[in-house]
Amino acid sequence: MLESKSVTKMFGTLAAVDHISLSLEKGHVYAMLGPNGSGKTTWMKMAAGLIKPTSGQILFQGQPVNIESRKHIAYMSTEPYFYSWMTVKDVGKYYADFFDDFSYDSYLDLLRQMELTEEMKTSTLSSGMMAKLKIAVTIARDAQVYMLDEPFNGIDLLARDEMRRCILQYATEEKLLLVSSHLVEEMEAVADRAVFIQKGKLVENVDLEEMRTEMGVSMADRYRQIYGHTEE
């Protein structure tokens, strides 16, 4: 469904993403893992069409990501990105204006679950509330691919549980979820596959169940093996 073909992104002389080739299929929840600066965000932004690769290409259903693919790929950035004049309601209306797959009813439902109200100004939201809003507006789209970059950042444990439930409720056989997080243990309960990235290069793209049975290690253990204890 989403295929990365030897994708590289250079920032000056630094290779943020270095010849990454991988294939992501629908019906799976992928955990994209790696220390800060490993290239997870850059790769996601390229898949969302926000950043142009220096070389290589990312394909969505066999076609290079473009304006058409943005209709089917829902991307949630780790940074807040809403216009400062917006209320929570404005954010929903904006998505409704531009994404045909956006359901305002689902959005309202998610807002209720996350204890947000339409009147709240985005500029006054705490980091936790902002994270909830980003999740709500992203998964209220009936997209084919969801890419969530560090969705659990700045959120307390109970809210994380709530958000995890919300995310999984939208993970069906027809969809592909790609979630990056440095909270590896949290991701263990969400993902069925893991993509490990280090210094811009793909280390491995593994099935977690197979890894547990064949290698006898959890995702967190594997993370420690790859990156070492100090890097987490």
Partner: protein
């Protein structure tokens, strides 16, 4: 496109409302001064309204360039560039919204000026004296302007078209800075130099195009039209650069 334009309008709404508020306050001052025949206050209000008309139209353009800059260089860029809209549409919405805003502001201040001058004639006995003042003022801006409706309309059209072209050129310089020179040394300086060089080149080109036209009104109209065509060319070049090279 209309939805994009709606949000472009919303982004610059605060600037527009502030401008409208200041204009309303000065206009009220003008009307009170006219009614009470306070000549000094009246003169101050006329000068302020004139400055607001010129400055207001300029502010609309500058505000739009700043909005584009924010839309490419801050995280709010995701709001725009993750939507299924091409860079041609995104930039097109900006150019159209800004062009319409500039033309609307120009028409608004023109109408307000016409109304205020009519009121001044109606209220004042010294019609000839005031008319002389208006003529002198306009001639001080450009001594070739003919003070008839057609001449004034041609002048305003040429002025606004020139400003739309300048704003479009500023878009190009800003996009070159964000897409091609990003991360390079003296990025801002280089894009500003590009803006100055292209401005000079376009000024020369419009001058050459209209050099053989004797009728001043026609010259103004042709100059305005050439500027609008050049604005279209700048738009296409800018959109192509965005489409191929811009990362946000």
């Amino acid at each position: 496109m209309l939805k994009l334009m709606k949000y472009e309008f919303r982004k610059t709404l605060v600037t527009k409302l502030i401008l409208l508020g200041i204009t309303a306050a000065v206009e009220i001052g003008y009307l009170i001064s006219l009614y009470t025949e306070a000549k000094t206050a009246l003169t101050v209000c006329i000068v302020l309204l004139t400055l607001l008309a010129v400055g207001g139209v300029m502010m609309m353009g500058l505000g739009s360039v700043l909005t584009l800059h924010r839309d490419m260089n801050t995280k709010q860029s995701y709001m725009l560039f993750m939507t299924p809209n091409s860079c041609h549409r995104i930039l097109g919405a900006k150019v159209l919204e800004n062009g319409l805003s500039i033309l609307t502001a120009g028409a608004f201040y023109f109408a307000l000026g016409a109304l205020d001058i009519t009121l001044l004639f109606w209220r004042s006995n010294a019609i000839n004296e005031i008319w002389d003042f208006v003529q002198q003022f306009i001639h001080s801006m450009n001594d070739q302007i003919r003070l008839d409706t057609a001449g004034f309309a041609a002048f305003i059209f040429s002025l606004l078209a020139g400003w739309i072209m300048t704003v479009t050129l500023a878009y190009l310089a800003d996009v070159v800075s964000a897409a091609l020179l990003n991360g390079k040394k003296h990025n801002g300086l280089l894009s500003f130099a590009l803006f100055l060089v292209l401005s000079w080149l376009i000024g020369w080109l419009t001058g050459m195009t209209t050099a053989g036209i004797a009728d001043y009104n026609l010259k103004l109209v042709v100059r305005g039209a050439v500027n609008l065509v050049l604005a279209g060319i700048m738009y296409e070049i800018t959109a192509q650069i965005m489409e191929r090279k811009l990362s946000v």
